[in-house]
């Protein structure tokens, strides 16, 4: 009963066993890393909140690291500086300051 003299079954099973072993090891590794927070690139600078209007504008939130946020200790001066280029670039301004305007600006900003 059960004897397989060709050895094919045992070869297949050995591969499955290897696979299971690797999966188990990976599982443990992932959990350990996730628990300790290893490998995740959450440096404080990338977390600085609400840099300013420009930072929020790019939907991906990809922006110069921290510099702007730190510069913008007080919101007012940097805000006016950073906003002016897209404003001047957009031709249709005076008609209606509505949703369409915001879309065109963000497009220009990108």
């Amino acid at each position: 009963m059960f004897v397989d003299s060709s050895g094919r079954r045992s070869k297949v099973l050995r591969r499955i066993g290897l696979l299971i072993g690797v999966v188990c090891l990976t599982y443990a590794g992932v959990l350990g890393a996730a628990f300790m927070g290893w490998g995740s690139s959450l440096s404080p600078s990338s977390l600085l909140p609400f840099g300013d209007a420009q930072g929020g504008q790019g939907p991906g939130g990809i922006r110069p690291q921290g510099g702007i946020g730190r510069q913008a200790g007080l919101p007012s001066p940097s805000a006016s500086v950073s906003v002016s280029p897209p404003a001047s670039a957009s031709p249709s301004v005076s008609v209606s300051p509505s949703v369409s305007a915001s879309v065109s600006v963000s497009a220009a900003g990108n």
Partner: protein, 777 residues
Amino acid sequence: MTTPTPTPSPRGRRRAPTRIERAAGKAAALQRPRVILALLLLLALTCVMLLDGYLRAEVGGDERVRTGASSSKVPDKVLNGGPILTFRGGQATTVSVPSKTIALTFDDGPNPTWTPQVLAILRKYDVPGTFFLVGSMVSRYPGIVKTMVQQGNEVGIHTFTHVDLSYQSDARVSREMEQTQLALAGAAGITTTLFRAPYSSETDAIDNYSWPVYKKLGQDGYTSVFVDTDSDDWKKPGVSKIVKWATPKGTKGASVLFHDAGGERSQTIKALPQYIEMMKAKGYTFTTVSGVIEKQRATERKQTEREQAQQDQAQQGQAQREQTGNAAAGLRGTTDGNGTDRLQAAHRKATGITLYEGKALIAAVAVAEWTVPALSVGLVVVGVAVMGRFGMMLILARRHFRQRNRRRFAWGPPVAGPVSVIVPAYNEKECIANTLESLARSTHPIEIIVVDDGSTDGTSEIARSAAESLGMSNVRVIRQENAGKPAALNNGVRSASHDIVVMMDGDTVFEPDTVRQLVQPFADPEVGAVAGNAKVGNRDTVIGAWQHIEYVMGFNLDRRMYDLLRCMPTIPGAIGAFRREAVLQVGGMSEDTLAEDTDITIALHRAGWRVVYQEHARAWTEAPGSLKQLWSQRYRWSYGTMQALWKHRKSLTDKGPSGRFGRVGMPLVVIFQIVTPVFAPLIDVFTVYSMIFVDFRAALYAWLAVLGIQLLCAAYAFHLDREKYRYLLMMPLQQLAYRQMMYLVLIHSCITALTGGRLRWQKLKRTGEVGTPAGVS
């Protein structure tokens, strides 16, 4: 084959292994890849259990909550400031919610029942909310979070396990935040900069212990969000009170606290639409926390720009003024538009390792979420099987005992005719003399056939001289080339001169009365075979005592049960009696399986013979003396049982007695000899899990309760067999060790069966120390 062969074949199946072979055997016995795989599986299982415990806040769960601490070290402007606290440039700054604005915030989610309902309400009224999520729940219900974010709501961190951070170390605080960020990255592909501390409320409730936490997190870049009005919906005060408490005074803006998880939330679900409608009627607008900050900043900007414009007007020309106006208009365009990215400005897109690690974490949690319930089902199966077996055993064993020990009970007219006793022997020089000596005292007329299966240690010579010195004329010694135990038994059956054959092992010792007792059931013409009562002779070692308990309890209670159910799966090789005719009818012992005793018993059932258990026919056998030998014996048994079941699988669909065995006996054997041992260690796994993570005492008591029931059954079995109770002291350890060993043995046999490897007969080492106890012989 009946003629003695002087030289045993060196190529025999059961020849003694050489030293090299033995070493190779040892290496193979270690089965390295299997051991490593088993350890890895154990590691993964531990991880799954730990993760599950952690997600349910059973690992490292800290339920302390600080109340009534002083707030002397917290700056007054924070205590009296708005609900949004940032540390821009290391300076604590608070932002309040502008008038006629509501930031709906929901804590403790996601929850699979309530959060989707909250989201549906928000979608219906087209208002955004801010959800402060518990990381463990995010990892368990990632889909909800994904929908939440796609719908335009903002999310913040409410720690991973909902602990009061003021009690935790800096490292734990960082871990809580990072784990939650990973969960968010995995669930929705984002990270966030918003944070709300569990058990926090208004800013004036910040105390000296929580302040450093906010400060640290603020310096890390987090914005802490507090509340202005608290609905206190967790107190379930009724819909009207929730609405009332959540409403700010006059036209004040507010960050409002609701809960979408952490308990039954139907009142919140009812109150929320009412609240939104009421506030909308009052002219309020709804936004997220980022929306609030944006709005506040826009007002500030407008003010500064107005001032600047006035300055410009005073200092510079008309053209310049136009341009600033344009800028202001453009700015207004961006801030007034309610594009979702403005409302989710606190979100950052997760990329790289964070994203993948987050996804891996979510997957790992999903695995754990499936594994633990699956294991629980296994535990239930074991529980039902173990308890059911005990119940059945107690009832049936009692009935069996009463039935067979009644004063007027008889199988029929006493069987007094002579019978043949077959003793297969392979290298039994230590034991064979003892065996023959015990047979010499038999009270029943017997002929003894010793079948020497090509022994290399002079077993047949020892047997002959022993028979001579005992003055036995009824002993025949047959030598055959080494061909295995089944062949030896068949050889013996062929040479037997009587209709009833008793089979015993060469290392077994009978009591004088044993053979007479064993053959009495043959008075009933339906009975084809009889199983005797095997006793462990060497019971004074730990392993011997374990097996003694097992033999008395398991084997004997089991056999009584199977006898009454008419589906005995195994006649022990150490003591059994057969009708010669029945054995020949089913083709004799077969070499198809490693458990020829189970194989032939099943075959007899299928041929329509009845197999009974005769408790009074006792045989003393030498049980394996080391764990390794016990392992290899059990390995052979369980593998052989599996082979025999597989060989006779067709009986499942047969008609008549064969079908009866297939549908009654086979399932019982599968459940009790394969399924139960495989799942039995779960009893210990879950006990350890519960002891560490849930309730130490309750878990221990539950485990002891299971043990207690087993002890009770064992004590009853000992009572029926009139054994000494003191061996039961070994029972806790025996149960613990046996469960794990039988599990490993079964897994090992299953893998061997699957791989199709050849498993050899392994002979156990004998010392020949077993004799009948002094009192009996």
